[in-house]
């Protein structure tokens, strides 16, 4: 990656990342976040990690951000009002940010100077190399992760679907009232189940 390309992409990434936190409208923030993710994908591609770069664009920018958009619409989040006050919170945030910057500077100051750039091998970052590593050396970790994701999906579906209405054989008045009103599960019941799950 040439210096001017890095400079251009880094500026774009920083500006869009600032856009994420400085915008008042959540949809505008989301747009800025998509730009940040796409610039990161271009970074990956320019550094030779082509597959990771494209996956970043497909999965993060193309799919997960759509999910974010749905959440913003579903919760009907409006543009943020500018609030006065909360001086204690603001000063605490400023202190924490200053501490983080100091820490980063300290670490960066102690890091050894970079040696000459290492030229990656031609196979570096291709989908074949990645697949060979995933399906041989990291096979167990890969399969365990996919199993975990499957469990998560099944769990989410189980939580989201309506429970089959129980036969009101129980004599409890609560069960009778539930079946009488025709409601499947009351709201506290759902949250209790989610908590116990």
């Amino acid at each position: 990656m040439t210096a001017w390309l890095f400079g251009f992409l880094a500026t774009l990434a920083l500006v869009s990342a600032l856009g994420v936190i400085l915008q008042r409208n959540p949809v505008h923030s989301l747009m800025a976040l998509i730009v940040t993710l796409l610039v990161t994908a271009v970074f990956f591609i320019a550094l030779g990690a082509v597959t990771i770069g494209f996956l970043q664009a497909i999965i993060y920018a193309g799919a997960i951000m759509v999910l974010f958009l749905f959440v913003i619409w579903l919760l009907n989040i409006q543009a943020e009002e500018r609030e006065a006050g909360h001086l204690a919170l603001k000063s605490f945030g400023a202190l924490a940010a200053a501490a983080l910057v100091a820490e980063l500077l300290a670490i960066a100051g102690r890091a050894p100077a970079p040696e000459a750039a290492v030229k990656p091998s031609p196979a570096y970052g291709t989908i074949a190399t990645l697949a060979a590593a995933l399906f041989s050396h990291y096979l167990i970790a890969f399969e365990a992760t996919s199993l975990l994701l499957l469990v998560a999906i099944v769990g989410a579906v189980a939580l989201a679907r309506r429970m089959p209405r129980r036969r009101s054989t129980a004599a409890s008045p609560a069960a009778a009232s539930v079946s009488a009103t025709g409601q499947d599960v009351s709201a506290p019941e759902v949250s209790r189940r989610a908590a116990s799950a």
Binding site: V27, M31, V50, F54, I58, A61, L69
Partner: protein
Amino acid sequence: MFIDLLIGAVKAVVVLLLVLNLTALLLWFERKGSALIQDRVGANRANLLGLGARLGMPNLGLINTLLADPVKLFTKEDFVPDGADRFLHWLAPFLALFPVLVTFAVVPIGDAVTIAGHRIVLQAASLHDDALYVLATIGIGVYGIALGGWASNNRWSLLGGIRASAQMISYELAMGLGVVAVVMTFGTLSLQEICRSQGGVWFGWLPRWGIFVQPVAFLMLLAAGMAESKRVPFDLPEAESELVSGYFTEYSGSKQAVFMMTDFAEVALIAVLLTTFFLGGWQVPYLYRDGFILPGGVHWALSGPAVAILGVISFFIKTLVLCCLQLLVRWTLPRFRYDQLMRFGWKFLVPVGLLNLVATAFVIVLAGH
């Protein structure tokens, strides 16, 4: 160095112009073709100085839509509804069109040709991971539609935008599974290589096209692609009987034209991708580097440039046939219900795609041993 840059720029401009002209052609074909199917006359009012009458036609035919429609749309008032998000409302049509147009960059329209010592690959940009690039750009195409619906401050638009984004990310999955099956079959992500490996014949007469190896993936990609382009029978996002016009209800003039252009560019995109993956791309049956070798053993020698030109022509013929097929489907089938649409995507296409992948993997492993 300079000449390479020039070649790249010329290729990019040529591909862009080809796509834009193809969309205009499709617009004309859609208007006149639908009229033909519905036993109407179709667009026939635009005329220029009575020129059509002098040529013996009631109007100017193709020029009618190529000229009159854009002029009409671009001279209309550009209206932004009250309370709309002005910036996103302005940006959305271009966010929708841009990803579709840039996808054409990796589509090979012909084999490599050598002109004056320069080897030119007839593909605007050759990456090694074209298939991933295609999936990435198609995935990003959702935002223009979704944000166009949201930014208009209109409930019909918002409903259309939500429907569109839900539909597009659902069918992206089926599309991805179809592309993966193709990539497994040919063992490469490069579209140019996929085209190249579809040359030659089986049994002495059957072209080695992808459609004969992966017929299931072809049908899947056709269905998922039509759903991605949001056209009948998958046009729930703009269902005019319920949502006025869906996500572009509040768009007028040139911005609405851009949304319309996106529609047709998507039709063309699906056609070129299907051509590349399944119909041999620029391959002509029985045509090799030095000429035709017909099944009977007849040899007909052709020069290199002639072969290259025939390849490009064959690519466009296949593309046009697939475009026409999609337009015919649009004017033939009724619209799905939304639950049918979701059930078809998730409970039919995705399982079939997964089974197809497993079957493909089995065949590849068995053939390898």
